[in-house]
Protein backbone atom coordinates (compact mmCIF):
# COMPACT_ATOMS: atom_id res chain seq x y z
CA UNK A 1 0.00 0.00 0.00
CA UNK A 2 2.64 2.50 1.01
CA UNK A 3 4.96 1.60 -1.82
CA UNK A 4 2.07 2.21 -4.17
CA UNK A 5 1.44 5.58 -2.59
CA UNK A 6 5.02 6.73 -3.11
CA UNK A 7 5.16 5.43 -6.64
CA UNK A 8 1.77 6.99 -7.28
CA UNK A 9 2.87 10.35 -5.91
CA UNK A 10 5.83 10.42 -8.26
CA UNK A 11 3.67 9.45 -11.19
CA UNK A 12 1.31 12.27 -10.28
CA UNK A 13 4.15 14.75 -10.50
CA UNK A 14 5.41 13.50 -13.87
CA UNK A 15 1.92 13.12 -15.29
CA UNK A 16 1.00 16.61 -14.09
CA UNK A 17 3.69 18.12 -16.29
CA UNK A 18 2.57 15.99 -19.21
CA UNK A 19 -1.08 16.87 -18.76
CA UNK A 20 -0.65 20.63 -18.39
CA UNK A 21 1.62 20.71 -21.44
CA UNK A 22 -0.95 18.78 -23.43
CA UNK A 23 -3.88 20.71 -22.02
CA UNK A 24 -2.44 24.15 -22.67
CA UNK A 25 -0.31 23.57 -25.74
CA UNK A 26 -2.05 20.62 -27.35
CA UNK A 27 1.33 18.95 -27.67
CA UNK A 28 1.86 15.33 -26.70
CA UNK A 29 5.31 15.54 -25.21
CA UNK A 30 7.16 12.31 -25.89
CA UNK A 31 10.32 13.89 -24.47
CA UNK A 32 8.79 13.97 -21.00
CA UNK A 33 10.45 10.73 -19.87
CA UNK A 34 13.80 11.98 -21.13
CA UNK A 35 13.31 15.24 -19.22
CA UNK A 36 12.66 13.19 -16.12
CA UNK A 37 15.93 11.29 -16.67
CA UNK A 38 17.78 14.52 -17.38
CA UNK A 39 16.49 15.90 -14.07
CA UNK A 40 17.80 12.87 -12.25
CA UNK A 41 21.25 13.31 -13.82
CA UNK A 42 21.28 17.04 -13.09
CA UNK A 43 20.51 16.12 -9.49
CA UNK A 44 23.22 13.46 -9.51
CA UNK A 45 25.87 15.90 -10.72
CA UNK A 46 24.80 18.54 -8.21
CA UNK A 47 24.85 15.92 -5.47
CA UNK A 48 28.34 14.73 -6.36
CA UNK A 49 29.65 18.29 -6.25
CA UNK A 50 27.91 19.46 -3.11
CA UNK A 51 26.93 16.34 -1.23
CA UNK A 52 23.62 17.98 -0.55
CA UNK A 53 20.32 16.44 -1.56
CA UNK A 54 18.58 19.79 -1.32
CA UNK A 55 21.05 21.16 -3.87
CA UNK A 56 20.29 18.18 -6.08
CA UNK A 57 16.56 18.91 -5.95
CA UNK A 58 17.10 22.58 -6.70
CA UNK A 59 19.49 21.78 -9.56
CA UNK A 60 17.14 19.24 -11.12
CA UNK A 61 14.24 21.67 -11.05
CA UNK A 62 16.16 24.76 -12.16
CA UNK A 63 18.12 23.02 -14.90
CA UNK A 64 14.99 21.45 -16.34
CA UNK A 65 13.13 24.75 -16.24
CA UNK A 66 15.94 26.17 -18.37
CA UNK A 67 16.02 23.15 -20.67
CA UNK A 68 12.25 23.33 -21.07
CA UNK A 69 12.46 26.97 -22.08
CA UNK A 70 15.19 26.28 -24.63
CA UNK A 71 13.32 23.32 -26.14
CA UNK A 72 10.08 25.31 -26.37
CA UNK A 73 11.73 28.33 -28.00
CA UNK A 74 14.00 26.33 -30.25
CA UNK A 75 11.66 23.61 -31.40
CA UNK A 76 8.21 22.98 -29.94
CA UNK A 77 7.03 26.49 -30.78
CA UNK A 78 7.46 25.70 -34.47
CA UNK A 79 5.11 22.74 -34.13
CA UNK A 80 2.00 24.25 -32.51
CA UNK A 81 0.19 24.56 -35.82
CA UNK A 82 1.46 21.26 -37.19
CA UNK A 83 -0.38 17.92 -37.12
CA UNK A 84 -0.03 15.72 -34.05
CA UNK A 85 2.17 13.23 -35.95
CA UNK A 86 4.79 15.93 -36.53
CA UNK A 87 4.68 16.98 -32.90
CA UNK A 88 5.14 13.41 -31.77
CA UNK A 89 8.08 12.91 -34.11
CA UNK A 90 9.68 16.16 -32.98
CA UNK A 91 9.33 15.47 -29.25
CA UNK A 92 10.35 11.86 -29.79
CA UNK A 93 13.45 13.16 -31.55
CA UNK A 94 14.23 15.38 -28.57
CA UNK A 95 13.87 12.34 -26.32
CA UNK A 96 16.35 10.31 -28.37
CA UNK A 97 18.87 13.16 -28.46
CA UNK A 98 18.61 13.70 -24.70
CA UNK A 99 18.80 10.02 -23.76
CA UNK A 100 21.72 9.30 -26.09
CA UNK A 101 23.43 12.48 -24.89
CA UNK A 102 23.14 11.23 -21.31
CA UNK A 103 24.51 7.85 -22.38
CA UNK A 104 27.46 9.50 -24.14
CA UNK A 105 28.34 11.66 -21.14
CA UNK A 106 27.59 9.35 -18.23
CA UNK A 107 27.75 5.92 -19.82
CA UNK A 108 24.96 3.41 -19.67
CA UNK A 109 25.75 2.25 -16.16
CA UNK A 110 23.13 2.75 -13.51
CA UNK A 111 24.03 5.20 -10.74
CA UNK A 112 22.34 6.23 -7.58
CA UNK A 113 21.79 9.23 -5.36
CA UNK A 114 21.60 8.09 -1.73
CA UNK A 115 18.60 9.21 0.27
CA UNK A 116 19.39 12.42 2.13
CA UNK A 117 20.68 12.00 5.65
CA UNK A 118 17.59 13.64 7.14
CA UNK A 119 15.52 10.97 5.52
CA UNK A 120 17.72 7.91 5.99
CA UNK A 121 16.49 5.08 8.14
CA UNK A 122 13.29 3.32 8.73
CA UNK A 123 10.04 4.37 10.35
CA UNK A 124 7.91 2.01 12.33
CA UNK A 125 4.38 2.45 11.02
CA UNK A 126 3.08 -0.25 13.39
CA UNK A 127 1.74 -2.31 10.51
CA UNK A 128 5.02 -2.24 8.65
CA UNK A 129 8.52 -0.88 8.73
CA UNK A 130 9.03 1.74 6.09
CA UNK A 131 11.97 3.79 4.77
CA UNK A 132 11.67 7.35 6.03
CA UNK A 133 12.60 8.75 2.65
CA UNK A 134 9.50 7.35 0.99
CA UNK A 135 7.32 9.16 3.47
CA UNK A 136 9.24 12.35 2.85
CA UNK A 137 8.64 11.89 -0.85
CA UNK A 138 4.93 12.04 -0.18
CA UNK A 139 5.37 15.31 1.65
CA UNK A 140 7.64 16.79 -1.03
CA UNK A 141 5.26 15.83 -3.82
CA UNK A 142 2.32 17.13 -1.80
CA UNK A 143 3.98 20.50 -1.37
CA UNK A 144 4.93 20.65 -5.06
CA UNK A 145 1.37 19.88 -6.09
CA UNK A 146 -0.04 22.55 -3.81
CA UNK A 147 2.41 25.00 -5.37
CA UNK A 148 1.38 23.97 -8.88
CA UNK A 149 -2.28 24.20 -7.91
CA UNK A 150 -1.72 27.68 -6.58
CA UNK A 151 0.04 28.74 -9.77
CA UNK A 152 -2.69 27.29 -11.95
CA UNK A 153 -5.73 28.46 -10.00
CA UNK A 154 -4.76 31.53 -8.07
CA UNK A 155 -2.56 33.58 -10.37
CA UNK A 156 -2.89 35.58 -13.57
CA UNK A 157 -0.77 33.01 -15.33
CA UNK A 158 -3.13 30.28 -14.22
CA UNK A 159 -6.16 32.20 -15.42
CA UNK A 160 -4.54 32.60 -18.83
CA UNK A 161 -3.53 28.95 -18.96
CA UNK A 162 -7.01 27.72 -18.07
CA UNK A 163 -8.58 30.05 -20.61
CA UNK A 164 -5.96 29.18 -23.23
CA UNK A 165 -6.64 25.48 -22.81
CA UNK A 166 -10.21 26.17 -23.87
CA UNK A 167 -9.87 28.88 -26.49
CA UNK A 168 -6.43 30.08 -27.50
CA UNK A 169 -7.69 32.38 -30.19
CA UNK A 170 -10.09 34.24 -27.93
CA UNK A 171 -7.40 34.74 -25.31
CA UNK A 172 -5.21 36.17 -28.05
CA UNK A 173 -8.03 38.48 -29.17
CA UNK A 174 -8.25 39.72 -25.58
CA UNK A 175 -4.76 41.14 -25.88
CA UNK A 176 -2.76 38.30 -24.35
CA UNK A 177 0.35 36.89 -25.98
CA UNK A 178 -0.56 33.25 -25.61
CA UNK A 179 2.69 31.90 -26.97
CA UNK A 180 4.59 33.54 -24.13
CA UNK A 181 2.32 31.79 -21.69
CA UNK A 182 3.03 28.52 -23.49
CA UNK A 183 6.71 29.03 -22.88
CA UNK A 184 6.08 29.29 -19.15
CA UNK A 185 3.81 26.25 -19.16
CA UNK A 186 6.33 24.12 -21.02
CA UNK A 187 9.04 25.27 -18.65
CA UNK A 188 6.90 24.41 -15.61
CA UNK A 189 6.01 21.01 -17.05
CA UNK A 190 9.65 20.19 -17.74
CA UNK A 191 10.54 21.41 -14.27
CA UNK A 192 7.99 19.08 -12.66
CA UNK A 193 9.45 16.15 -14.63
CA UNK A 194 13.03 17.01 -13.68
CA UNK A 195 12.14 17.48 -10.05
CA UNK A 196 10.38 14.11 -10.02
CA UNK A 197 13.51 12.58 -11.53
CA UNK A 198 15.64 13.83 -8.65
CA UNK A 199 13.35 12.79 -5.87
CA UNK A 200 12.88 9.38 -7.41
CA UNK A 201 16.63 8.88 -7.80
CA UNK A 202 17.20 7.46 -4.30
CA UNK A 203 14.40 4.93 -4.84
CA UNK A 204 15.23 3.67 -8.32
CA UNK A 205 18.54 3.60 -10.12
CA UNK A 206 19.56 6.47 -12.34
CA UNK A 207 20.16 5.42 -15.93
CA UNK A 208 19.64 7.09 -19.30
CA UNK A 209 16.60 4.91 -20.00
CA UNK A 210 14.93 5.44 -16.63
CA UNK A 211 12.27 7.66 -18.20
CA UNK A 212 10.92 5.15 -20.69
CA UNK A 213 8.60 3.24 -18.37
CA UNK A 214 7.67 6.37 -16.50
CA UNK A 215 6.60 8.05 -19.74
CA UNK A 216 4.33 5.19 -20.68
CA UNK A 217 2.88 4.98 -17.17
CA UNK A 218 2.26 8.73 -17.12
CA UNK A 219 0.36 8.52 -20.38
CA UNK A 220 -1.80 5.84 -18.81
CA UNK A 221 -2.28 8.05 -15.75
CA UNK A 222 -3.59 10.98 -17.72
CA UNK A 223 -5.79 8.80 -19.88
CA UNK A 224 -7.32 7.28 -16.75
CA UNK A 225 -7.69 10.63 -15.03
CA UNK A 226 -8.80 12.64 -18.03
CA UNK A 227 -6.42 14.47 -20.33
CA UNK A 228 -5.65 18.04 -19.29
CA UNK A 229 -7.25 17.69 -15.85
CA UNK A 230 -5.36 18.60 -12.66
CA UNK A 231 -7.40 16.33 -10.37
CA UNK A 232 -7.41 13.66 -13.06
CA UNK A 233 -3.61 13.49 -12.91
CA UNK A 234 -3.70 13.31 -9.10
CA UNK A 235 -6.28 10.55 -8.85
CA UNK A 236 -5.01 8.70 -11.94
CA UNK A 237 -1.46 8.74 -10.57
CA UNK A 238 -2.48 7.37 -7.19
CA UNK A 239 -4.59 4.63 -8.76
CA UNK A 240 -1.76 3.67 -11.14
CA UNK A 241 0.76 3.60 -8.30
CA UNK A 242 -1.39 1.24 -6.26
CA UNK A 243 -2.11 -1.06 -9.17
CA UNK A 244 1.55 -1.28 -10.17
CA UNK A 245 2.81 -2.03 -6.69
CA UNK A 246 0.00 -4.31 -5.50
CA UNK A 247 0.13 -6.47 -8.62
CA UNK A 248 3.95 -6.48 -8.47
CA UNK A 249 3.76 -8.04 -4.98
CA UNK A 250 1.88 -10.97 -6.48
CA UNK A 251 3.50 -11.25 -9.89
CA UNK A 252 5.81 -8.44 -11.11
CA UNK A 253 5.50 -9.46 -14.76
CA UNK A 254 1.82 -8.58 -14.73
CA UNK A 255 1.93 -5.15 -13.12
CA UNK A 256 2.15 -3.20 -16.39
CA UNK A 257 -0.48 -5.45 -17.93
CA UNK A 258 -2.82 -4.75 -15.04
CA UNK A 259 -2.25 -1.04 -15.51
CA UNK A 260 -3.18 -1.20 -19.19
CA UNK A 261 -6.19 -3.34 -18.38
CA UNK A 262 -7.37 -0.66 -15.94
CA UNK A 263 -6.90 2.00 -18.58
CA UNK A 264 -8.90 -0.04 -21.08
CA UNK A 265 -11.67 -0.50 -18.52
CA UNK A 266 -11.82 3.23 -17.80
CA UNK A 267 -11.88 4.01 -21.51
CA UNK A 268 -14.81 1.65 -22.00
CA UNK A 269 -16.82 2.98 -19.07
CA UNK A 270 -15.84 6.62 -19.32
CA UNK A 271 -13.99 7.49 -22.52
CA UNK A 272 -13.11 11.02 -21.42
CA UNK A 273 -11.34 9.67 -18.31
CA UNK A 274 -12.44 9.99 -14.68
CA UNK A 275 -12.16 13.78 -14.53
CA UNK A 276 -12.22 14.61 -18.22
CA UNK A 277 -14.68 17.06 -19.67
CA UNK A 278 -16.68 15.64 -22.53
CA UNK A 279 -16.40 17.26 -25.93
CA UNK A 280 -13.23 19.25 -25.38
CA UNK A 281 -11.31 19.44 -28.60
Amino acid sequence: MFNGLTLGALLVLVAMGLTIIFGALGVVNFAHGALYALGAYAGLVAYEYTGSFAAAMAAGAAFLLAVGIVIERGLIRLYYERPAEDQILATFGVAIVLVEGLRAIFGGLARNIPAPSWAAGIVNLRVTLYPTYRIDVLAIVGVSLVALYFILYRTRLGLIVRAGIEDQLMVNILGINVTRTFLTVFGLGAMAAGFAGVINAPIVTVSPDMGADVLVQSFVVIVIGGVGSFWGAVVGGLIAGEILSLVAMIEPAYSQVALFATMALVLILRPQGLFGVEGRQ
Binding site: L159, I160, R162, V171, L174, G175
Partner: protein, 232 residues
Protein backbone atom coordinates in the same frame (compact mmCIF):
# COMPACT_ATOMS: atom_id res chain seq x y z
CA UNK B 1 -7.57 61.01 -40.05
CA UNK B 2 -9.98 58.09 -39.97
CA UNK B 3 -9.84 55.85 -36.94
CA UNK B 4 -9.66 52.79 -39.16
CA UNK B 5 -8.79 52.76 -42.81
CA UNK B 6 -9.03 49.57 -44.83
CA UNK B 7 -7.38 49.92 -48.20
CA UNK B 8 -7.98 47.33 -50.93
CA UNK B 9 -7.45 44.22 -48.86
CA UNK B 10 -7.57 40.70 -50.27
CA UNK B 11 -8.05 37.82 -47.86
CA UNK B 12 -7.99 34.10 -48.62
CA UNK B 13 -8.99 30.88 -46.90
CA UNK B 14 -6.22 28.72 -48.30
CA UNK B 15 -6.85 28.90 -52.03
CA UNK B 16 -10.33 30.37 -51.69
CA UNK B 17 -10.40 34.11 -52.34
CA UNK B 18 -12.84 35.61 -49.80
CA UNK B 19 -12.28 39.39 -49.90
CA UNK B 20 -11.59 41.29 -53.15
CA UNK B 21 -10.01 44.74 -52.81
CA UNK B 22 -12.23 45.63 -49.87
CA UNK B 23 -11.86 49.24 -48.77
CA UNK B 24 -13.66 51.08 -45.98
CA UNK B 25 -13.19 53.89 -43.50
CA UNK B 26 -14.44 54.18 -39.93
CA UNK B 27 -14.49 57.64 -38.37
CA UNK B 28 -14.29 58.23 -34.61
CA UNK B 29 -17.64 58.10 -32.75
CA UNK B 30 -19.66 56.61 -35.58
CA UNK B 31 -21.61 53.40 -35.81
CA UNK B 32 -21.15 51.64 -39.12
CA UNK B 33 -23.32 48.72 -40.24
CA UNK B 34 -21.72 46.05 -42.39
CA UNK B 35 -24.41 44.16 -44.27
CA UNK B 36 -24.67 41.42 -46.86
CA UNK B 37 -26.06 37.96 -47.50
CA UNK B 38 -24.71 34.77 -45.95
CA UNK B 39 -21.17 34.15 -47.07
CA UNK B 40 -20.70 37.71 -48.36
CA UNK B 41 -17.48 38.14 -46.37
CA UNK B 42 -18.63 40.19 -43.37
CA UNK B 43 -17.04 38.00 -40.73
CA UNK B 44 -13.90 37.66 -42.84
CA UNK B 45 -13.65 41.46 -42.99
CA UNK B 46 -13.89 41.78 -39.18
CA UNK B 47 -11.42 38.94 -38.68
CA UNK B 48 -8.93 40.58 -41.00
CA UNK B 49 -9.28 43.86 -39.11
CA UNK B 50 -8.66 42.07 -35.80
CA UNK B 51 -5.67 40.11 -37.09
CA UNK B 52 -7.37 36.74 -36.82
CA UNK B 53 -6.69 36.48 -40.55
CA UNK B 54 -3.89 38.14 -42.45
CA UNK B 55 -4.69 39.98 -45.69
CA UNK B 56 -2.62 38.78 -48.63
CA UNK B 57 -2.43 42.30 -49.99
CA UNK B 58 -3.71 45.76 -49.15
CA UNK B 59 -3.29 47.86 -46.02
CA UNK B 60 -5.15 48.39 -42.76
CA UNK B 61 -4.36 51.55 -40.81
CA UNK B 62 -5.53 52.07 -37.25
CA UNK B 63 -4.89 55.62 -36.06
CA UNK B 64 -2.55 55.83 -39.03
CA UNK B 65 -0.56 52.80 -37.91
CA UNK B 66 -0.34 49.80 -40.26
CA UNK B 67 -1.83 46.78 -38.46
CA UNK B 68 -2.51 44.37 -41.36
CA UNK B 69 -1.12 40.95 -40.49
CA UNK B 70 -0.22 41.76 -36.87
CA UNK B 71 -1.25 39.07 -34.36
CA UNK B 72 -4.60 39.72 -32.63
CA UNK B 73 -3.07 40.42 -29.23
CA UNK B 74 -1.04 43.32 -30.62
CA UNK B 75 -4.04 44.75 -32.42
CA UNK B 76 -6.13 44.38 -29.25
CA UNK B 77 -3.52 46.32 -27.28
CA UNK B 78 -3.75 49.14 -29.81
CA UNK B 79 -7.45 49.49 -28.97
CA UNK B 80 -9.46 47.29 -31.32
CA UNK B 81 -11.82 44.66 -29.94
CA UNK B 82 -13.73 41.95 -31.77
CA UNK B 83 -16.88 40.34 -30.37
CA UNK B 84 -17.20 37.16 -32.42
CA UNK B 85 -20.40 35.68 -33.73
CA UNK B 86 -19.89 32.52 -31.66
CA UNK B 87 -19.32 34.73 -28.59
CA UNK B 88 -16.49 32.49 -27.42
CA UNK B 89 -17.09 32.91 -23.72
CA UNK B 90 -14.57 30.81 -21.80
CA UNK B 91 -16.99 28.19 -20.49
CA UNK B 92 -14.78 26.87 -17.69
CA UNK B 93 -14.21 30.32 -16.19
CA UNK B 94 -16.75 32.24 -14.15
CA UNK B 95 -18.35 35.44 -15.43
CA UNK B 96 -16.00 37.42 -13.24
CA UNK B 97 -12.93 35.49 -14.37
CA UNK B 98 -13.90 36.11 -17.99
CA UNK B 99 -14.00 39.84 -17.23
CA UNK B 100 -10.72 39.81 -15.33
CA UNK B 101 -9.04 37.87 -18.13
CA UNK B 102 -10.18 40.47 -20.65
CA UNK B 103 -8.67 43.28 -18.58
CA UNK B 104 -5.29 41.65 -17.85
CA UNK B 105 -3.35 43.25 -20.68
CA UNK B 106 -5.02 46.66 -20.53
CA UNK B 107 -3.78 49.24 -18.04
CA UNK B 108 -6.99 51.26 -17.86
CA UNK B 109 -9.35 48.29 -17.84
CA UNK B 110 -12.67 48.38 -15.99
CA UNK B 111 -13.26 46.81 -12.60
CA UNK B 112 -15.89 44.05 -12.88
CA UNK B 113 -18.19 46.17 -10.70
CA UNK B 114 -18.50 48.72 -13.48
CA UNK B 115 -19.78 45.96 -15.74
CA UNK B 116 -22.26 44.83 -13.08
CA UNK B 117 -23.60 48.37 -12.75
CA UNK B 118 -24.21 48.38 -16.47
CA UNK B 119 -25.49 44.78 -16.70
CA UNK B 120 -27.06 43.87 -13.33
CA UNK B 121 -27.85 40.42 -14.70
CA UNK B 122 -24.13 39.68 -15.04
CA UNK B 123 -23.65 40.82 -11.46
CA UNK B 124 -26.17 38.24 -10.29
CA UNK B 125 -24.34 35.61 -12.32
CA UNK B 126 -20.81 36.65 -11.43
CA UNK B 127 -19.92 33.28 -9.86
CA UNK B 128 -21.54 31.19 -12.59
CA UNK B 129 -19.39 29.51 -15.17
CA UNK B 130 -19.56 30.75 -18.72
CA UNK B 131 -21.05 27.51 -19.97
CA UNK B 132 -23.96 27.81 -17.52
CA UNK B 133 -25.17 31.11 -18.99
CA UNK B 134 -28.10 31.50 -21.35
CA UNK B 135 -27.46 32.70 -24.90
CA UNK B 136 -28.54 36.24 -24.05
CA UNK B 137 -26.33 36.34 -20.95
CA UNK B 138 -23.39 35.04 -22.97
CA UNK B 139 -23.87 37.76 -25.55
CA UNK B 140 -24.03 40.39 -22.79
CA UNK B 141 -20.84 39.00 -21.33
CA UNK B 142 -19.19 38.97 -24.76
CA UNK B 143 -19.97 42.67 -25.20
CA UNK B 144 -19.01 43.47 -21.61
CA UNK B 145 -15.72 41.65 -22.04
CA UNK B 146 -14.91 43.94 -24.94
CA UNK B 147 -15.93 47.08 -23.00
CA UNK B 148 -13.70 46.14 -20.09
CA UNK B 149 -10.75 46.92 -22.33
CA UNK B 150 -12.12 50.39 -23.10
CA UNK B 151 -11.44 49.90 -26.82
CA UNK B 152 -11.42 52.70 -29.34
CA UNK B 153 -13.24 50.52 -31.85
CA UNK B 154 -15.60 47.61 -31.21
CA UNK B 155 -16.34 45.06 -33.94
CA UNK B 156 -19.66 43.32 -33.24
CA UNK B 157 -20.41 40.23 -35.31
CA UNK B 158 -24.13 39.35 -35.30
CA UNK B 159 -24.82 40.19 -31.66
CA UNK B 160 -28.55 39.46 -31.98
CA UNK B 161 -28.27 36.13 -33.76
CA UNK B 162 -30.31 33.27 -32.34
CA UNK B 163 -31.75 35.28 -29.44
CA UNK B 164 -35.40 35.73 -28.43
CA UNK B 165 -37.02 39.02 -29.54
CA UNK B 166 -37.23 40.37 -26.00
CA UNK B 167 -33.52 39.80 -25.46
CA UNK B 168 -32.74 41.35 -28.82
CA UNK B 169 -34.62 44.46 -27.63
CA UNK B 170 -32.48 44.51 -24.48
CA UNK B 171 -29.25 44.19 -26.40
CA UNK B 172 -30.36 46.74 -28.94
CA UNK B 173 -30.86 49.11 -26.00
CA UNK B 174 -27.33 48.34 -24.83
CA UNK B 175 -25.92 49.06 -28.28
CA UNK B 176 -27.90 52.28 -28.52
CA UNK B 177 -26.47 53.38 -25.19
CA UNK B 178 -22.93 52.59 -26.33
CA UNK B 179 -23.54 54.65 -29.47
CA UNK B 180 -24.86 57.56 -27.42
CA UNK B 181 -21.74 57.41 -25.27
CA UNK B 182 -19.82 58.12 -28.45
CA UNK B 183 -18.22 54.73 -28.88
CA UNK B 184 -17.10 53.70 -32.33
CA UNK B 185 -18.73 50.47 -33.47
CA UNK B 186 -18.81 48.32 -36.57
CA UNK B 187 -21.87 46.08 -36.43
CA UNK B 188 -22.56 43.09 -38.67
CA UNK B 189 -26.19 41.94 -38.52
CA UNK B 190 -28.67 39.81 -40.47
CA UNK B 191 -31.30 41.85 -38.67
CA UNK B 192 -30.94 44.72 -41.14
CA UNK B 193 -33.56 46.94 -39.51
CA UNK B 194 -31.85 46.73 -36.13
CA UNK B 195 -28.46 47.49 -37.64
CA UNK B 196 -29.71 50.39 -39.74
CA UNK B 197 -31.52 51.88 -36.73
CA UNK B 198 -28.16 52.12 -34.94
CA UNK B 199 -25.88 53.15 -37.77
CA UNK B 200 -24.95 56.47 -39.30
CA UNK B 201 -23.33 54.80 -42.30
CA UNK B 202 -23.37 51.39 -43.87
CA UNK B 203 -21.46 49.19 -46.28
CA UNK B 204 -22.85 46.25 -48.18
CA UNK B 205 -20.67 43.33 -49.18
CA UNK B 206 -21.51 40.88 -51.91
CA UNK B 207 -19.32 37.89 -52.77
CA UNK B 208 -16.37 39.56 -51.11
CA UNK B 209 -16.80 42.91 -52.91
CA UNK B 210 -17.98 46.18 -51.41
CA UNK B 211 -21.05 47.02 -53.50
CA UNK B 212 -22.49 49.89 -51.49
CA UNK B 213 -21.45 52.68 -49.18
CA UNK B 214 -23.91 55.26 -47.88
CA UNK B 215 -26.30 56.29 -45.16
CA UNK B 216 -29.22 54.17 -43.95
CA UNK B 217 -31.65 56.77 -45.36
CA UNK B 218 -30.10 56.57 -48.83
CA UNK B 219 -30.20 52.80 -48.69
CA UNK B 220 -33.85 52.73 -47.64
CA UNK B 221 -34.57 55.01 -50.58
CA UNK B 222 -33.50 52.24 -52.97
CA UNK B 223 -35.71 49.21 -52.18
CA UNK B 224 -34.67 47.41 -55.37
CA UNK B 225 -31.04 47.55 -54.41
CA UNK B 226 -31.84 46.37 -50.89
CA UNK B 227 -33.81 43.50 -52.27
CA UNK B 228 -31.04 42.48 -54.63
CA UNK B 229 -28.20 42.52 -52.09
CA UNK B 230 -29.92 41.84 -48.79
CA UNK B 231 -32.89 39.79 -49.90
CA UNK B 232 -35.47 42.09 -48.32
Amino acid sequence: MSLLEVDAINTYYGEAHALFDVSMRIEPHEVVALLGRNGAGKTTTLKTMMGVMAPKSGAILFNGLPIGGLPPYKIARLGLQFVPEERRIIGGLTVEENLVLAGLSEAKSWEPQRVYDMFPRLGERRRSRGRELSGGEQQMLAIARALVREPQLILLDEPFEGLAPLIVQDLLGVCRRLAEEGRTIVIVEQNVEAALSLAQRCYILNNGHVVYEGTPAELRGDPDFMHRHLGI
